[in-house]
Amino acid sequence: MIDDHPMIIEGYKNTLLGENQREYQIKIDIASNCDDAYASIVKSSETVPYDMLFVDIKLPPSTDGAITSGEDLAKHAKELLPKSKIIILTMHREDHRIHNILKNINPAGFLIKSDLTSSELLLAFNNIIKGKAYYSATVNDHFRKMMTNKFSLDEKNLKILYHLSRGVKTKNLPNYVSLSLSAIEKRKNQIKEMFSIAKADDQMLLEEARKRGFI
């Protein structure tokens, strides 16, 4: 279990170790930062690999700066421990992040902390043990939204919409999305065309995006 808050790990433990103690023999290693986590993963890959990894996204980065988040960590883990089930637990519920994580890591479990209750955690645990993936309702929602749209927006477009919805001005977007201002303008126009509101302003664009569930 990788999380920088001991209280959360405590919560996981409390949940898992209650009822499940009887069915499973659960051994838990904990890490509160990327360095420790990586070391443990490397170690387990050499000895007994972990069956399951609880990964938080927001983590103190590694001292060498190579691993900055749980996302990076998960990528390494997938390489080092290909058979391990990775469960992402995060506070972030923004569409583009969900989208990103699903795309990059394709975790066995994807739980949004704010939705999470202990029973859900248990449910997820049991499902994943049995080889079934488990996603939080929010993540499923995201899937549903993605499916209902005839088209899909790529990560960058989603990011643009997301930041716009936060009130960032177009001209400041390059600071948030690694694109030039003109590229961003082009993408915005593409999105508007896709929404068939070609001449709409940003306000209308955001409204439409919200309606369609991109934000």
Binding site: G11, M91, T117, S118
Partner: protein, 681 residues
């Protein structure tokens, strides 16, 4: 004799004056002046007796004296005086001129004064030539100061020349006569030119330029032609020419001219004085040329005429001539008798020239003792005459000098005045120059001060802006930190607690599960709330470029609060203040400041509306107030408006001031953002 006669006559007139002065009271001015004219005309009627004529003048003056002092009255009095002169009432003539002078002085009529002076000169020219000379000189001074009086000046100059001729100051007299001729020619009035030339002829004779003298006399005759005095002047000139030839001892020529003159028999029959003079002169020339055919009969003929009309001057000359004749024929006794008669008459008349000759003759024809006495008397008289002439010349010179001195003094004074004026002007210009320079420096200083103040203002603003930006940055950083803290720290821990509680709740079955679940849900909702707060905090709700608009709004707010005016402010979100260069921002800031100062100072507005709009890459700033406004055309552009205009110009923008007396003032500034266009594409 004449003086006595005058005295008598004037006394007589004064009596008449009192006798009938009050009876003529005529109010109508025109009637009065008509009366005056007719009285004067009557006085010149030769057929009326002298007393009657004088009476007319008296009446004329009485009417005239009822007029108010003025040029008209003065003119009329002069006319009356001239008439008195014609009537030979010299005393009244003088009296009238004195009156005219008084009136002229009281009304500052300088020409009237000059005329009176000249007339007084004429009055004195037979009796007191120095006084006469003085008055003529005074008249001349006045005339020379007033232009357009060439004729009058010519007359006065001629008068003076004739006086000088009498005192034997020939060259000076000649000079004055020539000046007089010049003046007459300038005035185009040649009435007196024959007199001028006559005088020149006489002068030339005395100066022994005989040919010239004859020419002048002939010229005088020419000028007299066609005038009323033609015959008289011709006679006089012929007589003069005869005398000139006599002086040249050209007796034949002299005789010729005397005969020429005597051929005017008809005219001479009315002029016994001239006639006798010509006869006497002719006789004398005959005698001198030894042509004794009708001598001494011709002398006696002349003397008889002179005796009959009591021509005393003539008698003096005539008897002298006879004395000479008798000496020539060695009849000393008769010669002495005539010489003594001539002497007596000359003494009476103060005719010194004849007297001198009489004494000379007597000294020659008397016996040695008496002859010596006469010789001595002659010498004494001659000396005294020379002395007198010198005295007169000195006196005239003095009069001239005095006037010269006055002129010089005037010149001096005017020179001094000129210097004074120049000095004052110089000082004034110097002072003005100094003042202007001082003002220039002052205004330069003011400008410099204003400039530095503006610079410091801008610096202050820039610092303010920087501070605002820093503040904003700090705030955002802090917000971000708080957001992250809430999101990752607090929220995480809450989540942990909730999960733990939930986990425990699953296991423990003590009947409180429901209640705990409720609290767990509560925790969940707290989490949600914190997440929202964190989201809000983390979001860029206040973009960094808000700082400029904040500064602007603060400015407006502060100023409006100070002046107690309400305001509405709106800023178009589309304006990219961060992308606009500082210079433009500073300019907008200053324009706002300036406009608002104007509103506070002049508009007495209650509300100000300020608007930043963004249309077609142009920022439109509108500042609107509901004050009294101003007349756009009437108000001269003050420094405030000029500043605004120059700032807008600097940004390639357009500014308009629209004002209505009723609905306040609108200042509209449009500034294109070329720089932004470049950035965008």
């Amino acid at each position: 004799m004449i003086i006595n006669l005058c005295k008598f006559l004037s006394l007589f007139f004064i009596l008449i004056f009192f006798g009938c002065g009050q009876s003529d009271k005529v109010d109508d001015k025109e009637l009065k002046s008509n009366l005056i004219i007719s009285y004067i005309k009557n006085s010149q009627n030769n057929y009326l007796p002298i007393d009657e004529r004088k009476k007319n003048l008296e009446k004329a003056y009485n009417i005239c004296s009822t007029f108010e002092d003025g040029i008209y009255k003065r003119n009329k009095i002069h006319d009356i005086s001239t008439s008195y002169y014609i009537l030979k009432d010299y005393r009244s003539y003088k009296k009238m001129n004195m009156k005219a002078m008084k009136i002229a002085s009281s009304i500052n009529d300088s020409l009237g004064i000059a005329k009176s002076y000249r007339n007084l000169g004429i009055y004195y020219r037979t009796s007191k030539i120095d006084s006469a000379y003085y008055y003529f000189d005074q008249a001349k001074q006045i005339y020379s100061k007033v232009s357009g009086n060439d004729y009058e000046q010519g007359k006065v100059l001629l008068d003076m020349a004739r006086i000088l001729q009498k005192t034997k100051d020939y060259s000076e007299s000649e000079a004055l006569t020539i000046r007089s001729i010049e003046k007459f020619e300038l005035s185009k009035n040649i009435k007196f030119l024959y007199l001028c030339y006559t005088n020149l002829g006489i002068l030339a004779k005395y100066l022994e330029r005989y040919d010239e003298a004859v020419d002048y006399q002939l010229k005088a005759i020419d000028y007299a032609k066609g005038t009323s005095n033609e015959i008289l002047q011709t006679l006089i000139s012929y007589n003069n020419i005869g005398t000139i030839y006599k002086s040249q001892k050209n007796y034949d020529k002299a005789k010729e001219y005397y005969h020429k003159a005597l051929s005017y028999t008809d005219y001479l029959s009315t002029k016994p004085k001239r006639h006798s003079q010509l006869l006497d002169n002719l006789a004398y020339v005959n005698f001198l040329s030894n042509d004794m055919a009708n001598i001494p009969d011709l002398f006696y003929k002349a003397l008889n005429i002179r005796d009959s009309i009591n021509d005393r001057y003539g008698i003096a000359t005539n008897t002298l001539h006879l004395a000479e004749y008798y000496r020539y024929i060695d009849d000393y006794k008769t010669a002495r008798m005539y010489a003594e008669q001539s002497r007596d008459v000359s003494l009476e008349l103060h005719n010194n020239e004849e007297l001198l000759q009489a004494y000379q003759l007597l000294s020659e024809i008397s016996d040695s003792d008496k002859g010596l006495v006469y010789a001595n008397t002659y010498i004494a008289l001659n000396d005294s005459l020379v002395k007198e002439e010198r005295l007169f010349r000195d006196k005239f010179a003095r009069i001239r000098y005095e006037t010269d001195e006055i002129v010089e003094k005037n010149e001096q004074i005017s020179k001094e005045n000129q210097i004074l004026i120049i000095a004052i002007l110089g000082l004034t210009t110097l002072f003005l120059l100094g003042y202007i320079i001082f003002r220039q420096q002052q205004s330069n200083k003011e400008l410099l001060f204003a400039q530095t103040q503006q610079e410091s203002n801008e610096e202050i603003y820039r610092l303010l802006l920087n501070q605002q930006v820093k503040l904003e940055e700090g705030r955002q950083l802090e917000q971000k930190r708080m957001s992250e803290e809430l999101h990752d720290g607090v929220l995480g821990r809450l989540f942990g607690v909730r999960l733990s509680l939930d986990g425990i709740n699953q296991r423990a079955n003590d009947g409180f599960t429901e209640t705990r679940n409720k609290y767990i849900d509560e925790l969940k909702s707290i989490e949600k709330e914190i997440r929202l707060i964190s989201h809000d905090l983390g979001a860029e709700t206040l973009p960094s470029d808000v700082a400029y608009i904040d500064a602007v709004e603060n400015l407006i707010k502060d100023l409006c609060n100070v002046h107690g005016i309400e305001f509405e402010f709106s800023n178009d979100e589309d304006i990219d203040w961060e992308g606009i260069d500082d210079q433009k921002k500073v300019n907008f800031f200053r324009i706002l400041q300036e406009s608002m100062q104007n509103i506070f100072k002049h508009a007495s507005a209650e509300i100000i509306k300020i608007n930043f709009d963004y249309v077609d890459d142009t920022i439109n700033l509108t500042i609107l107030d509901d004050g009294i406004g101003f007349r756009t055309g009437k108000v001269k552009k003050g420094i405030g408006l000029k500043n605004i205009a120059s700032r807008v110009e600097q940004m390639n923008g357009v500014v308009s001031f629209v004002s209505d007396n009723e609905s306040g003032t609108t200042v509209s500034v449009s500034v294109p953002l070329h720089t932004k266009i470049v950035e965008l594409h």
